[in-house]
């Protein structure tokens, strides 16, 4: 199974990771070898078990306010004007 540089770029875009040409060259063979190793998974016999058998159930929280008076969203914001400033969308 071969991963093309184009495919790698596509995945990096989906993951919003900028990759330099060097990084593409370095990562490509490494990721390919990892992915091809995973093909052995196809050989494993898996039990036909219901996906939800014996699973614990979701914890539910009462609809009560919980204040965070010390939490300041501003304090670590890279840029702030009453809210988180981001560049234009496109």
């Amino acid at each position: 199974m071969v991963l093309t540089p184009h495919e790698l770029q596509h995945i990096a875009q989906l993951a919003h990771l900028s990759l330099s040409p060097d990084e593409i060259n370095t990562y490509l063979p490494q990721i390919e070898s990892i992915l091809s190793h995973m093909n052995d998974l196809q050989q494993v016999d898996v039990p036909s078990q219901g996906a939800s058998d014996g699973l614990p159930s979701a914890i539910l929280r009462d609809d009560e306010p919980l204040a965070h008076p010390d939490f300041s969203p501003q304090s670590q914001a890279p840029q702030w004007e009453g809210g988180f400033v981001v560049p234009r969308l496109s």
Binding site: H10, Q13, L14, H16, S52, L55, P56, S57, A58, I59, L60, R61, D62, D63, E64, P65, L66, A67, H68, F71, P73, Q74, E81, G82, G83, F84, V85, V86, P87, R88, L89, S90
Partner: protein, 480 residues
């Protein structure tokens, strides 16, 4: 003549006190970024914990819309990057939603049409982006992210593509909205965004042709916009096909001002949301007893209420006004419970009281005229001790001062005289004083009776019960 095929996705904000996965308040309109915490701002190390009330509301919606509540449903992550999405994923439900199936009835020309519902699921809302430097995304220089709304609970209701016209579509949204508002789980305010509708539109040659390519219309913010947006989209698709062009599946943004839709910029990468079950949340396993308890506790729903009022004799107009506001219905029922027939109470509620409320900015819940007050007033009118005309002014005063109608009526001494023992002799006397008029009435000039009525009203300073006087006059004049 093309045959449109329409499906709708409705997002409704649930009226919980706190957000879906954290204890922040869901209040709106406050200073940006003041109802936030590590969880809803996507801080590292924070974890979601599900709000029980949101689950209850989702179950209520599922029951009221006739769906099947799923005993096990699963939360999934919908992964994509956007500044208003703090975690880089939205917690939603994917292939195992909390409700499957359901339906809603809408009125059509010759009766009622049933529109199928595919599913309902729970998900969290995103924050808001405020664009600076321009009114449009395209022109803005930068944006500011406000996360007050982030992680507000939503339910998404998806209809089957059973809708065949813009009018039907509007009815679907209206009736679903009404259902949610009557349950008390959503404000249903499209302009403010507590109810949003995305419309999927396609066209085909006839009812039996296969479905065409559909486009999704977003940013439809009112009932009128629903109809308009669908109409222009149908026209657009018709025109394309007429030219021999294919319809591209895309998402289009509706602009109310220009009455057009335009394609949203196609992202280079496809919408690959890479859904997978959220490992921070266990599956939602619902006990059937719990669901039954919720079912028994459901408030009266709109279709049932509509039927009940119709049977009680209310007009369609009155029913529409009342059903638009469940608190008006509660008010009406409260008054009726105190012995006032529905039609009489409804007339006053939909008319005078509603007008007073609109002018003053009060609501039915905060009305200075309480149901008890109105019941008092209407009892007096029904028994004849108060004329309708006087009743209106008593209502007004009660509204302003909060004094009870009993007190007001006693104060002004403006009770109506409705007692036969007083009125009969008076009728006798007045007729005796005006024999010429009596003769005219007997001769067939019924209009002359007004003169006699006027004399009697003058004698009683307007307090005589006009219906009773009329009855007594008729009886007196036609017996001789």
């Amino acid at each position: 003549m093309v045959s449109p095929v329409i499906g709708i996705e409705i997002h409704a904000q649930l009226k919980t006190i706190t957000k879906l996965f954290c204890g922040c308040l869901t209040q709106f309109g406050d200073t940006p970024n003041t109802h936030v915490c590590p969880v809803c701002t996507g801080a590292p190390g924070a974890l979601p914990v599900l709000n029980k009330q949101a689950v209850v509301y989702a179950i209520m919606a599922g029951l009221a819309l006739n769906g099947r509540i799923q005993p096990i449903s699963v939360f999934a992550r919908k992964n994509y990057f956007y500044p208003d999405l703090p975690k880089g994923y939205q917690i939603s439900q994917y292939d195992r939603p909390i409700v499957l199936g359901g339906w809603i009835d809408i009125p059509v020309q010759d009766g009622v049409k049933r529109i199928g519902i595919t599913r309902i699921h729970i998900e969290e809302d995103a924050g808001k982006l405020l664009h600076q430097g321009s009114d449009t995304i395209a022109g803005s220089s930068h944006s500011i992210v406000d996360l007050n709304r982030a992680s507000t609970p939503l339910i998404e209701i998806v209809t089957e593509p059973d809708i065949r016209s813009a009018t039907e579509a509007r009815w679907v949204v209206e009736r679903i909205r009404e259902t949610l508002v009557h349950l008390g789980i959503c404000d249903g305010n499209m302009e403010e965004g507590s109810l949003r509708a995305d419309i999927n539109v396609s066209i085909r040659d006839s009812d039996t042709s296969p479905f065409g390519t559909r486009c999704e219309i977003k940013n439809v913010n009112s009932f009128r916009s629903i109809e308009r947006a669908i109409q222009i989209e149908i026209s657009r698709q018709e025109a394309l096909l007429a030219k021999g062009e294919a319809i591209i599946q895309q998402t289009r943004h509706y602009d109310e001002a220009s009455q057009t839709t335009r394609a949203l910029r196609d992202k280079e990468e496809s919408h690959d949301y890479r859904y997978f079950p959220d490992p921070d949340l266990c599956p939602l396993v619902l006990d059937s007893h719990w669901i039954d308890t919720i079912k028994t506790g459901l408030p009266e729903q709109a279709p049932h209420r509509r039927d009940r009022y119709k049977q009680a004799g209310l007009s369609d107009f009155e029913i529409d006004v009342l059903l638009a506001d469940p608190t008006a219905c509660h008010y009406l029922d409260a008054v009726a419970e105190m012995g006032i027939p529905h039609p009489i109470a409804a007339k006053w509620i939909v008319g005078d009281l509603n007008a007073q409320l609109k002018n003053s900015g009060h609501t039915f819940a905060s009305s200075p005229v309480t149901p008890a007050h109105l019941a008092e007033l209407l009892t007096a009118i029904i028994s004849g001790t108060l004329s309708g005309k006087l009743g209106k002014s008593v209502l007004s005063t009660c509204f302003e001062t909060g004094e009870s109608p009993q007190q007001l009526i006693a104060k002004t001494g403006q009770t109506q005289v409705s007692d036969e023992a007083t009125l009969a002799p008076l009728v006798h006397r007045i007729c005796g004083q005006h024999p010429d008029v009596v003769a005219k009435v007997k001769a067939g000039k019924n209009g002359a009776i007004q003169f006699l009525m006027g004399q009697i009203m003058k004698e009683t300073k307007g307090r005589a019960n006009p219906d009773m006087v009329k009855g007594l006059l008729d009886a007196h004049l036609h017996q001789a």
